[in-house]
């Protein structure tokens, strides 16, 4: 009973906060609701027994990605009136994307209802007696090693690409060279002088 209660609470909160992400007027509030949605989906993962995924969801999405979202959204000066004006213009294409997503979801759920055994054949069930962290590690670093490494390489390339695209070399910047600073010696830089009173240097 308590599990069912927890499930309905997390599920309701996920959906409600997802709706609020889209409908709230203030973009910072949207990001906060997005974080709430992530949190509740992490709760759903815990209920499924996938505690590793739940924690990774919080660490990666809430702890890093959403912080950057928030960072950007807080700095932007968004004009809401202008944003609303484009609504009708984008409605057809947005509706199309929504429709395709709905169809795909229905296909998944339909397959699930009509052939319940189909879903389990594609999965690698967690072996008994080990935690799902071990199970995930064992499968990622053996069966899917090349795909895993490829994903890592793609992310690395994307990161380098983003840096290359946004980096600009400014001229006339005086940069501090830490090595030079550390190499300085008191004897080279400080000079002690005896000053006679009333004379100055």
């Amino acid at each position: 009973m308590i599990q069912a209660l927890a499930f309905y609470m997390f599920a309701f909160m996920t959906i409600a906060s997802a709706v609020l992400v889209v409908s709230s007027r203030n973009p910072v509030h949207s990001v906060l609701f997005l974080i709430l949605a992530f949190f509740n989906s992490a709760g759903l993962f815990v209920l499924l027994g996938a505690e590793f995924l739940a924690m990774i969801l919080v660490v990666v999405y809430v702890g890093a990605v959403a912080v950057l979202f928030m960072f950007v959204v807080m700095m932007l000066d968004i004009n809401f009136v202008e944003m609303r004006q484009g609504f009708l213009q984008y409605l057809p294409i947005g509706g199309l994307v929504g429709l395709i997503l709905l169809c795909e979801l229905l296909t998944v759920v339909g397959g699930w209802v009509m052939a319940p055994e189909a879903a389990s054949s594609g999965l690698s069930p967690t072996p008994d007696g080990i935690t799902n962290t071990h199970a995930l590690g064992a499968i990622l670093y053996t069966d899917y090693l090349y795909l895993f490494e490829a994903a890592g390489m793609i992310l690395l390339v994307a990161m380098i690409g983003a840096i290359v695209l946004t980096h600009r070399r400014r001229t006339g910047v005086r940069k501090q060279v830490i090595a030079d600073q550390l190499a300085r010696h008191p004897a080279d830089t400080i000079e002690l002088r005896k000053v006679d009173s009333g004379r100055g240097i």
Binding site: V28, H29, L32, M55, V59, V62, M70, F71
Partner: protein
């Protein structure tokens, strides 16, 4: 087997639902009250220690040796008026200190005080701690934005960048420890240090980890978000009375939490230094408290000793020094574990 239908008695209801919940609540209270008391006396200890380091006496007027000072401070903050600026975003403004405070407390759910003496002995304990500590940035970010003040906003932006940067290095150091343990469970991490505390084989990582926790808790010398000389008080400029007190309590509870995390990862948690007669008479929780107190003393010592870092140097230290070092540490530790066949069998 068909169970006989019988009316649900009040006794069943009590034993099935009410008693387990009540027992958990009792355990939570038994954790939170000592934590809050230590937070209160940590503020006093900090002022006393810094006072001694600067050849002053520190607070010594309220109560014997100033022992009632934290209570007087708390009462003062409690009785003051909470002011909400007219330009502030009310909901987020009030939510921000609550988030900071709650996050500082929920992390204690997985900290083991002794073998089996833990509220929730979950499989992914260290990841939970890491996740909660990475959420700490939200309280500060929300406070900075909702205050509608430039000083607060600048403090919040600095803090966000700083905490995200140092989390990366912390993550890699946690990975080096986990490779030596073979489990993400905090009790297992402590038990793996029975022969030798990880601070000895992994000494450089322990140092980097401790410095990263300084940055993660926004403590000196990395207290950029509240650099009073440039940003007045940073993200909490607009806060007063209890809302400010919640930030303050959250920051100090986070310090204790990070010291606890350092103790669990590197100083062997509740284990005595040597498993021989005079040492193992002292119960585990006391060893754990002593180790936390040792880490907290270093926190305060650092505060009294070092000048504040410049912001660009802080970023340089995080990304150009700690990140490569901790990444190299992961590779080196993994290499050593494999080469000498020391890796834990799981």
């Amino acid at each position: 087997m068909v169970l006989k239908e019988r009316p649900v008695l009040m006794v069943d209801f009590w034993f099935l639902y009410i008693w387990p919940v009540a027992w958990i609540v009792i355990k939570i209270v038994a954790i939170i009250i000592p934590v809050m008391l230590s937070v209160a006396y940590l503020t006093l200890a900090e002022r006393k220690v810094i006072g001694s380091m600067q050849l002053r006496k520190g607070p010594n007027v309220v109560g014997p040796f100033g022992l009632l000072q934290p209570i007087a401070d708390g009462l003062k903050l409690f009785l003051k008026e909470t002011i909400i600026p007219s330009g502030a975003n009310r909901g987020v403004f009030i939510l921000a200190p609550c988030v900071t405070f709650v996050l500082a407390l929920v992390a204690w759910a997985v900290i083991p005080f002794d073998e089996g003496m833990v509220l929730a002995d979950i499989n992914v304990g260290i990841l939970y701690l890491f996740a909660i500590s990475s959420l700490g940035v939200y309280g500060i970010l929300m406070a900075g934005w909702a205050s509608n003040s430039m000083y607060a906003f600048l403090g919040a932006l600095r803090s966000a960048a700083q905490m995200v940067s140092y989390e990366v290095a912390m993550g890699f150091i946690i990975i080096t420890v986990l490779m030596c343990v073979g489990s993400l469970n905090l009790t297992d991490i402590v038990m793996a240090q029975k022969t030798v505390w990880f601070v000895i084989p992994l000494f450089p990582m322990a140092v980097i980890f401790f410095i990263s926790t300084l940055a993660e808790t926004n403590r000196h010398p990395f207290d950029m978000p509240e650099a009073e000389a440039e940003l007045v008080a940073g993200y909490n400029v607009e806060y007063s009375a209890m809302t400010f007190a919640l930030f303050f309590l959250g920051e100090y509870a986070n310090m204790i939490l990070m010291s606890g995390m350092t103790s669990v990862l590197f100083l062997g948690g509740w284990l005595p230094p040597f498993d021989i007669a005079p040492f193992n008479w002292i119960p585990g929780p006391i060893w754990f408290a002593l180790k936390i107190a040792f880490c907290l003393f270093i926190f305060i010592w650092v505060r009294a000793t070092f000048p504040r870092y410049r912001y660009d140097q802080l970023m340089r230290l995080g990304w150009k020094v700690f990140l490569p070092l901790s990444l190299a540490a992961v590779v080196i530790v993994a290499g050593v574990l494999v080469a000498f066949d020391l890796a834990p069998q799981v």
